[in-house]
Point group: C2
Chain length 496, copies 2
Amino acid sequence: MPATDRNVLDGLASWRTANEWRVLRELCDFLSLRNVAGEPGHMRENCAWIRSALERRGARTELWRSAAEPEAPPAVFGELNVGAPWTVGVYAHYDGQPADESHWTVGPWTPAVFSDRIDRGGVRLALPKAGETLGDDCRVYARSASDDKTPVVALLAALDALRDAEAEPAVNLLVFIEGEEETTSPHLAEHIAAHRDAMAAADVWLFCDGPADTFGRRHVAFGVRGDVELELTVWGPGHELHSGHWGNFVMNPAMELARLIGSLKDAEGRVLIDGFYDDADAFSETELAAAHEADGLDDALRRQAGVGRSEGGNAEPYFSRMLRPSLNVRGLEAAGVGPRARNVIPDAARASLDIRTVRGSDPHRLVEALRDHARRMGFAVLDRAPTEAERDEHARLLTLVELDSYPAVRTDMNDPAARWALLAVERAAGEKLLRVPTLGSSMPMHAFAEGVGKPVVITPMANADNNQHAADENIRLGHFWAGVRMLATVLTSRGG
Amino acid sequence: MPATDRNVLDGLASWRTANEWRVLRELCDFLSLRNVAGEPGHMRENCAWIRSALERRGARTELWRSAAEPEAPPAVFGELNVGAPWTVGVYAHYDGQPADESHWTVGPWTPAVFSDRIDRGGVRLALPKAGETLGDDCRVYARSASDDKTPVVALLAALDALRDAEAEPAVNLLVFIEGEEETTSPHLAEHIAAHRDAMAAADVWLFCDGPADTFGRRHVAFGVRGDVELELTVWGPGHELHSGHWGNFVMNPAMELARLIGSLKDAEGRVLIDGFYDDADAFSETELAAAHEADGLDDALRRQAGVGRSEGGNAEPYFSRMLRPSLNVRGLEAAGVGPRARNVIPDAARASLDIRTVRGSDPHRLVEALRDHARRMGFAVLDRAPTEAERDEHARLLTLVELDSYPAVRTDMNDPAARWALLAVERAAGEKLLRVPTLGSSMPMHAFAEGVGKPVVITPMANADNNQHAADENIRLGHFWAGVRMLATVLTSRGG
């Protein structure tokens, strides 16, 4: 560990005491800027704020606008080149989810400090005065407090802590803060294509987004699954029919949908679509070992889910399951059940599916494999509603619509730069973190990872109970400062 | 054909001309009495009206009240004993469905005559004056015009026509007019048990209810299927879970429900529940022949249903399919589809099923067979929501609730009394009618048929487009008078 690293990290606790009043003012200042995704008008102030803050720390910044849609919220790019052999990129986003103000205790853009979680009796506190510090359990409540403005301010604080310790960063820093994450990053691929060289200058990118302790302890993740969303409609008679008059004469689309969906998985949860697992990348020894290290989590996860038994039994640990694609029924609908049930043959039956892909899986190929499966069961498969002639012609008629889909991202855990980032982050935490080969959930990181072509490591900061996307979103101060420490450690770790 | 029969039937057209003004006044008078099922207060007037009308024609009447619930709408029993060797019973009901007056052109209890179907340009007419007659396409609009007060007034008219032709009935007449049909006849079994001998005095009962020309031509039916209604819930995690975080770790109840439901039928529509068809009575030669005589109907029925192909192919005719029990998915529900879809593993998935049973099928045995089927698929089967301990213990948990169920009724088409009724009804129509071994639909006739122990033949009168149970319910005059002719023919046909 280089001297600068020790200086900064050893001194960070006292630096917090001396500077928390200032850091929290900067955080609250940023959080007071309205930032609703899809409202480009308010985004200018957020970008100006970020650029000014970075430039005050000596970074050079650029505003990247979409050429295709110049009014769309731009991305802020920043660069702090210290001539080091190693460059680290930090990703975050400044846009936030819409907020229904009536559900907030204070207000989405009126940042407020509380002594603890509001629903656990936290009381509102004033911002600390110079030299005062608040406890780790205090929280700042505001839209984007956790998702995803904290990493920006934590980075600024880390840079300030280095400066005050008279420590030069040991790495060059790139910053990419986008403003369209909550609207599925429609211009991300365009930004990266237009600035590929600038972005690829980083040896590794840290994705600072999401909760850090979802699994009961802090984790670092190397991937996310991809996502395919599908809507299926099996068409029945031209209109709902009386089930007595017509039962045994007219095929029931809800039954045929059940036969189709029910044929997709076996009793152990294995997907039966031909070739479903074929193009999924194999797991490395490192990944499998990491998955098994978290073995002890499974009982807690089952309790959290409210189930006594995992799909296919309890033998396989959670994280190795996430290395396989999954097929999920998001919803079923046909006529009515319970008090709304009537004696009818429904006119149609609908299912919504999602497939979580893993690295290697081609979403479109999986959808085609599902189409083939349906065809083998006797369905004519369309991507739109059928015509009258098609209804007459085909006994079984399925409309299968592929909604948004994007592939998975998974960084090789043995990649040297990824490993460097992991070790820096663990050093900051002072312990071995939960090493997650891939999260089960999905983020549209593919455009980023594929476009930049450098390893991406997900290094989240927020507390899991941050009320992400909901009212009373918050960041816990203990988590905020752990984030500062993580970034300060990264900035002071030599690499290359 | 006896002389009285010819006299009455030959003169019926001129009798209509002379008497339609009076008959329609009597019909409208009866229809003006409010008769909402489940409102006992208004039922007294309906009963008094029926008794008075029957007694004026020389019948002896009784009011049968439920001992268990004396305030429930009573049944009217009537008897006109002419000392004939043969006795015919006529069943109808005087109660009607509730009516939202705002949807009616005139009003549910303000009977109004129109020149044709209102939605085909029919205009309102005054009641005919003495000696005037209206065309067959005219209709009387009112609640219960078709379902099921017409048979009562048609019977009165038939008795009057006999009287005016100075023709003594050739058979003794029993009348049973209940007031609880629309609320599933909760006291029917009690009435019959209390008066079994009186009811069993009939050699055959004519069920005068329902539409006469559902199949495009008039029919006589010898049975109805029974009905079992079931609600199934497959229990998933304790609450909806994120499908990314949990997919492959937590079993999806919508998938398990689809696997269960999808396993119940094969691609040809055959039910795969062990023993499902075992106790269904075999078809007789007569039944099968009758089913095949209606062969030509199938294309029209498919057009009506809006399907190009019947379940399992087009080879088997409609009516022989109705001789088998059917299994139907009334509805499916789990989380949301389409715009309401979210990336979740649902916390539960629900299906509503109905089984149409045939003669011989024991509803409870079929439900038990379904339970066994689910158990063989690994489900623990409950008849209520599970406890927390049960959720922990069982990987697959199904709640199966049997709602109302009742068995089928099917009269032997070769029974002499049933055959006598069929031939009388066909003679009235002047043609061979569609002979339906069993309707596909269900009526709770079992308590009646089983309790009375005499053959039951379903001899409906109403036009199929009568708006049964809906606003602007109506009876077409051509159908009304065909009903009068049918009952007059029955009353003048010697038997025994």
